[in-house]
């Protein structure tokens, strides 16, 4: 695709605009022409002109906005086209891969993964599809810090390389992933193998530089390293420090939680909800009449302390959540960033109602 201002378009007005733009290129003329093509439904041409204009007038906000609009429209059309193609029997692996990539760009990671999986069901030996899958799983791992995402990324990228050893893109991604999880030696080994294919490539130069500054191996076993990342992230979140890749970890503040506790309607059988901080102090609470919030906090604090200490003694890692069933009710315990959230309810409570309540309060709680 070679964007060019001088190519004739449809319609007299557009032709005139094309001529004017070729003769005297300005951001205003380019914007008008892009709008014309968008209006006429020729999004491919609109995108070509928008890309060229964005390169020529990088400061023009109007052009930047139109480029983004044209990209969105073009992607939507292409996704529709590719979806109908992959539904037919003659679809190729690269069409599945492109569909997955576009869906991912459109922000629909779930559908993108699904497209990859569908593609792999039809073409299990496609290195491109394994590469896309690995790339998307890696993105997800960076967001979620969940070991399962990291392990899935490792497996997909390793598979891509196994099927096609010259898949240097997969090797580059895998090298980055090894580095991020602390398997430095493996990352170096892999990068040494493929670096000659990436002479002067910015990503490779960055990776090589990062490897030069990297600490020695934190772990030599990649799957275990992914689990360590998840575990470390839990600790970081508990301490309210930095989240994935330097972003601030979500924090539950007393004020925010108190506001949410008052907003989310309670359910039949609800008795009390408390948010305890790291030191066991009550950060926020909501209790039914006749219940002493301090007493609830003290009782819950003791259970959590015993559960946390027991989990560590049994080598099962940090305590995450628990459900206590008694003859006359239940206690739900859940770890949230910077504290523990507990809900106490009576025997008449339906567990779905209690779990919905906890989700409603805790999912709103991060900020």
């Amino acid at each position: 695709m070679t964007p060019a201002f001088g190519r004739p378009g449809k319609g007299a007005h557009r032709r005139k605009l094309e001529r004017e733009l070729a003769r005297d290129p300005t951001a205003g003329r380019a914007a008008e022409l892009i709008r014309e093509y968008v209006r006429s439904g020729e999004t491919g041409r609109a995108l070509e002109i928008a890309r060229k204009a964005a390169a020529e007038f990088p400061e023009a906000e109007d052009i930047t906005r139109l480029l983004s609009q044209a990209e969105r429209l073009w992607r939507r059309e292409r996704i529709t086209h590719l979806r109908s193609t992959v539904e037919g029997k003659s679809a190729k692996a690269e069409e599945y891969a492109e569909l997955a990539e576009l869906l991912n760009q459109a922000g629909d990671a779930g559908a993108a993964l699904e497209a990859c999986m569908d593609g792999l069901a039809a073409f299990p030996k496609s290195p491109e599809l394994h590469l896309r899958l690995g790339g998307m799983r890696m993105e997800r791992f960076r967001e979620s810090m969940l070991a399962k995402d990291g392990i899935a990324a490792l497996q997909a990228l390793e598979k891509a390389i196994e099927i096609q050893p010259s898949t240097s893109e997969a090797a580059l991604l895998l090298g980055q992933l090894y580095l991020e999880i602390g398997c430095t030696s493996r990352a170096r080994e892999l990068v040494d193998k493929v670096s000659r294919l990436y002479l002067n490539d910015e990503r490779m130069l960055k990776l090589q530089e990062a490897l030069r500054r990297a600490e020695p191996d934190r772990c030599d076993e990649p799957e275990r390293a992914c689990k360590d990342v998840e575990r470390a992230q839990c600790l970081v979140m508990d301490l309210g420090g930095e989240g994935p890749h330097g972003r601030p970890a979500p924090v539950f503040t007393s004020e925010a939680m108190a506001a949410r506790l008052s907003k989310v309607p309670s359910f039949a059988g609800f008795r009390a909800a408390v948010l305890l901080g790291e030191e066991g102090a009550t950060m926020a609470s909501k209790v039914e009449k006749g219940i002493d919030a301090g007493k609830v906090a003290e009782a819950i604090g003791d259970v959590i302390e015993a559960a946390q200490s027991g989990s560590l003694r049994m080598d099962t890692g940090a305590f995450n959540e628990g459900v206590v069933k008694t003859s006359e009710g239940r206690i739900y315990l859940r770890t949230v960033p910077t504290g523990r959230f507990a809900v106490i309810c009576g025997g008449e409570t339906k567990s779905d109602a209690a779990l919905d309540y906890i989700s409603a309060v805790t999912s709103l709680g991060s900020q």
């Binding site: 998840e230 259970v303 027991g310 099962t316």
Partner: protein, 117 residues
């Protein structure tokens, strides 16, 4: 009791199980490597006592079951009236499935404890 615990230990993800009294005495145990009777008994006693006290303080009646999930495993405590069944499991356990086996084992263990005071 040993046989029941041994069967339970065969479930996928179960690392060990034991029958422990509130004050931390091991009645029977079948534990995998890495788990000691003393450690399981001390851990169970401390969790059971704290949870029973909380249930009583919050007017929730008698503790029946406590399912505890951690980063790399789960623990289940089931009331046997005169003791507790304690199950320690790793992440691979399918708790929905295994809880049925645990409930069955608890029922049989409760009967044994009732018949042999």
């Amino acid at each position: 009791m040993k046989d029941i615990l041994e069967d339970l230990n065969k479930e996928v993800g179960v690392r060990g199980c034991a029958v422990v009294t509130r004050d931390g005495i091991v009645v029977a145990a079948h534990l995998g490597s890495g788990l000691s009777e003393e450690a399981v008994a001390a851990m169970a006693s401390s969790i059971i006592i704290a949870t029973e006290k909380a249930a009583e303080g919050l007017s929730l009646g008698r503790l029946q079951e406590f399912i505890l999930s951690s980063a790399y495993g789960k623990m289940v405590f089931v009331d046997l009236e005169r003791a507790f069944l304690v199950v320690v499991a790793d992440m691979t356990i399918d708790l929905d499935m295994t809880l049925l086996q645990i409930a069955g084992a608890a029922h049989r263990l409760r009967n044994i404890l009732t018949l042999n005071p």
